[in-house]
């Protein structure tokens, strides 16, 4: 038993999205909605009221033809660790401890039955990854039968967001436990969006585990909040110190620059070391 516990290292589940592979097809968004019983309305034209745990943004380099270039940025919850593990922008402000940071997995959870809908967390999240249930969920006739039984639907008046398909983690842990294992294999726990992406642009795994692809791609500097060492990899709004666990990869400089804000004349990465000291 003792030995098992010492082998039991905390995980930091994270994601790398290769923006040079993403075609903007939206499969990840669809898979996410289906997996997580995300509710929708008849009219979804107002995107400020749509619940999209995973949302694909389209950006351009603003240049005229023939230099025009576009890029799609899928944006799930970034599962921010904050400046010190667990001090995520949203978790730190929730007055009712209805959203929590797991030191075991690094996943930022949302406790729907405890959230009382003050929306402070939404004000805190710079990625707009949090969504409020302005309405009660109403499913088209018969669709209840197709809901995922492992995910509770949310009631009106609470906030929800991407959970890194936590139910899949639980299922995988249960299975492993029954088989007498403590550790999960890399492919045993994968998010719905990762599996749905036809371009294979999304990679998911444990950033702490050197054998996992996410670790190899990012080469995270764990002493500095997991900052990527791979120069092609970046995080959104790195300078704010949110320390996300969702990474983006692109060979295009303008795309990497769009990931953060810079003063006129400033170069990406110029002050990275400063903001985390």
């Amino acid at each position: 038993m003792k030995q098992e516990q010492t082998q039991h290292r905390p995980k930091r589940y994270g994601m790398v999205i290769d923006l040079d592979k993403c075609t903007g097809c939206g499969s990840c968004m669809v898979a996410c909605m289906a997996e997580n019983n995300v509710s929708f309305k008849k009219d979804e034209s107002d995107k400020l009221l749509s619940i999209t745990w995973m949302r694909v943004y389209k950006i351009t380099n603003g240049k005229p033809f023939p230099d025009t270039d576009i890029c799609y940025i899928p944006r799930p919850c970034q599962h921010c660790a904050g400046q010190h593990e667990g001090h995520s922008p949203c978790v730190s402000v929730c007055p009712a401890t209805a959203t929590d940071y797991s030191r075991e997995t690094g996943i930022v959870s949302q406790i729907y039955t405890r959230c009382f809908g003050c929306r402070y967390c939404m004000a805190a999240c710079p990625y707009h990854a949090r969504y409020f249930n302005w309405w009660d969920p109403v499913w088209p006739d018969g669709m209840e039968k197709y809901l995922n039984p492992d995910v509770s639907p949310r009631m009106r008046g609470v906030v929800e967001k991407c959970s890194f398909c936590f139910q899949r983690y639980q299922a995988a842990k249960n299975k492993a436990y029954l088989e007498g294992r403590r550790e999960l294999e890399e492919d045993e726990y994968q998010t719905a969006c990762t599996q749905a992406c036809p371009a294979g642009a999304i990679v998911f795994g444990d950033l702490n585990n050197p054998d996992h692809l996410v670790h190899k791609m990012v080469d995270p500097d764990l002493k500095h909040g997991g900052r990527p060492r791979n120069p092609e990899v970046f995080r959104l709004l790195e300078r704010l110190g949110t320390n996300p666990k969702v990474y983006y990869k692109s060979g295009r400089q303008w795309v990497r620059k769009a990931g953060d804000n810079y003063l006129p004349g400033e170069k990406p990465g110029a002050d990275m070391h400063k903001s985390h000291s």
Binding site: T97, N261, Y262
Partner: protein, 445 residues
């Protein structure tokens, strides 16, 4: 009709006028109640808030009401702790206004949350690291203090005061008021501050984020300071408004001028701190996060640099100086303009710290999003205003709120000559009030 309830030595408007005023305010109140019920039963989809505007009109109203209600704790502090005796002539009204502001803020919070029945989770599952938790605890405690401060005043109603128990209770409570005033000031420091902290700790929102001391961002101190500075402005402004409406002088000039002068100094010192904070944020904090400060004031139809200038200069330096300089402070018109500017200034500050924070894009590929409230939001925000008016109407009519009123508005003893004048109005209420006062006067003397 209700003359037996009216305080001794003062005259009140005829009952019909009073009832008409109640009815008008009541209509607005009813409109607000309808909207409130719609929000409670149908949900927050009745508002124009959205996933970019999780905080909107209501949170602004909350912050603004609490800042404006700050007159209660600050005047209490000056009166009971610093022992400025003159202020006893305005403290009752400051407490009443504070009571209205704080109960309104609590009501709005109850409407604003998505699951009102779970509101108590904020206490039960409290996250002690959250500024909102601090707000909830201190706000509730301070509201209890305000109730305690308001209660003796209610007990001073002529009829209630006849009951020996109430009379003694109210008397004893007055004796211990310093304790409550101190508690109130202490609690206010924290909840006013933590309301500032609500915005200041948002390190994901560079427009709001502030560095600070330990866990407290600079906005923590700025909010407390501004509530102490501008709260009394609101108290004085409402006092002025009440005087205009009743057509009577209710508080002596020396009292008003004293509080106005203190408010003036508070405003000026606050504005200096605010300027330092703004400069530091604009030149150090924001650039370190990759933002030029002008970014927050450009490329959108509403939030321009004008808003910063209005807040700091027009609604900060100007009223501060007007209230500090004797000649302008003593000039009623200039003073009232200063008070009004102050009230607008602190409201604007709270607006900026809530609504502009939400409007500013943070990700480089995001956009400015503006918002306007739905009628339900407006109605529920006016609800507390109507409720406040009603409470003031009732309190002013039946409670001795202004200790100087009888002295400033002496009622001539009943003579056939002025009796004829009183009946000329043809209002039974008017007449009987005069009569009642006439009878009561010797007893009071």
């Amino acid at each position: 009709m209700d003359s037996a309830l009216i305080p001794e030595g003062v005259k009140r408007c005829p009952t019909w006028k009073f009832l008409l005023a109640l009815a008008i305010a009541g209509a607005v109140l009813l409109w607000g109640v309808v909207a409130m019920l719609m929000v409670w039963f149908k949900g927050l989809n009745q508002t124009n808030m959205n996933d970019y505007y999780g905080f909107a009109l209501w949170i602004w109203a909350d912050l603004a009401f609490i800042a404006l209600g700050g007159g209660a704790f600050f005047t209490g502090l000056l009166r009971y702790i610093f022992g400025i005796k003159e202020l006893k002539n305005i403290i009752n009204y400051a407490v009443l206004i504070g009571f209205i502001c704080y109960s309104s803020a609590l009501l709005i919070l109850a409407i604003d949350i998505g699951q009102p029945l779970r509101g108590w989770f904020i206490f039960w599952h409290a996250n002690v690291h959250s500024m909102l938790t601090e707000v909830a605890f201190c706000l509730s405690c301070y509201f209890a203090v305000l109730c305690i401060e308001y209660l003796p005043l209610v007990l001073e109603n002529r009829q209630l005061d006849k009951v020996p128990f109430f009379h003694n209770l109210s008397h004893n409570m007055h004796e211990t008021m310093a304790v409550f005033a101190a508690t109130g000031a202490f609690l206010s420091f924290f909840h006013q501050g933590s309301l500032g902290g609500v915005a200041g700790v948002l390190f994901g929102r560079p427009f709001a984020f502030r560095t600070g001391i330990n866990i407290w961002p600079w906005t923590f101190f700025l909010f407390t300071w501004s509530a102490a500075a501008y709260g009394p402005c609101f108290t004085l402004f409402i006092t002025w408004l009440t005087e205009k409406i009743t057509g009577k002088k209710l508080v002596k000039d020396n009292v008003v001028e004293l509080l106005a002068k203190i408010a003036g100094w508070m405003i000026i010192t606050y504005v200096v701190a605010k300027i330092i904070d703004t400069v530091y944020w604009a030149t150090v904090t924001a650039p370190s996060l990759g933002f030029k400060w002008t970014f927050f004031y450009s490329d959108n139809p509403l939030y321009g640099k004008w808003i910063l200038l209005t807040e700091i200069v027009l609604c900060g330096i100007v009223p501060g100086l007007l209230l500090i300089f004797g000649p302008t402070r003593r000039n009623p018109a200039a003073r009232v303009i200063a008070l009004l500017l102050g009230v607008l200034g602190v409201s604007l500050n709270r607006w900026v710290m809530v609504l502009q924070v939400m409007a500013v894009p943070v990700m480089s590929f995001d956009k400015w999003v503006l918002y306007y409230p739905s009628w339900q939001e407006v109605a529920t925000t006016l609800l507390p205003v109507a409720y406040g008016v009603i409470l003031i109407l009732i309190s002013y009519r039946y409670l001795p709120i202004f200790p100087q009123e009888p002295e400033l508005n002496p009622i001539a003893p009943y003579t056939p000559a002025n009796g004829a004048e009183a009946t000329a109005g043809g209002q039974a209420g008017d007449e009987s009030e005069t009569e009642a006062v006439g009878q009561a006067a010797p007893a009071g003397a």
